[in-house]
Symmetry: C2
Subunit: 154 residues, 2 copies
């Protein structure tokens, strides 16, 4: 192929542009949200773990990894930190001795009851750049993007 169809080239430029803009937007948003969470003495990963336990109840440590999307070695690290802060504790599974559950302590629950609504409010504020219909549209499109990206394209 000596030359590429003009339209093809344009489309690739659009894709590249989308990636760049996605990156930028994400970084801005994450930075703001990180800022909010820092007020509670937590980082995003720690918060995500607490949020998971708060909404879904006790979880095997390994499940946490797949939901929060981090490597198993990283979970050990985060769970250690949260345990030191007395926000969660480890509880062995009686049926399967390989498994350890992460469980919110009373302190952890209390903290989440307080900060989760505030956090939700903060996210809503930070994402105020588009209206609700646009958000719904973006959710659909982002789901498609994410699902497709995970597919094997080789």
């Amino acid at each position: 192929m000596v030359y590429q169809d003009k339209k093809q080239v344009d489309e690739k430029d659009i894709s590249l542009k989308l990636f760049v803009v996605l990156n930028r937007a994400m970084q801005s948003i994450k930075k703001q949200i990180e800022e909010d969470i820092k007020r509670y003495g937590l980082n995003q990963t720690e918060f995500a773990v607490l949020e998971l336990l708060y909404h879904k109840g006790d979880q095997p440590i390994q499940k946490i990894g797949s939901k929060v999307l981090i490597a198993s070695s990283s979970i050990t690290y985060v769970v250690d930190k949260l345990e030191k802060k007395k926000l969660i504790r480890r509880k062995p599974c009686p049926n399967d001795r390989r498994i350890t559950y992460a469980v919110l302590t009373e302190d952890g629950k209390e903290l989440m009851r307080t900060i989760f609504p505030e956090h939700k409010e903060a996210i809503h504020d930070i994402l105020g750049g588009v209206d609700i219909d646009e958000k719904k549209m973006m959710i659909d499109q982002l789901k498609k993007l994410g699902t497709y990206a995970n597919k094997d394209r080789s």
Copy 2:
């Protein structure tokens, strides 16, 4: 306020959902792109720096930081790595002795000439989950989101 307007609550849920979906999609996409770049023995930050120099020419090290969105200490680290790989070199600025330019070496240029088109193709493939019109729409919306997120909301 004893209760919150139902609509308000829903809207906050949508915002939260958008954030979650955005995170997920981004992580999937980044992972795939990282994978592609790894084939060239680079990571995303290194690639971003090379790309910047390739498209915008020599840059003061500090400018690189603001474009690629990393801290000054991190740039020093990345520039060191790329210099060791002989893909860029440091060049002092004659007018302002505080400034050091990062400059693509011939090897660096050659590499980018080869891999940039491939990389662009890969991104296009990875982002195949939505069509071009949806991409254009997302670009606009993401720009709005990003700009707004950067605003001071305190």
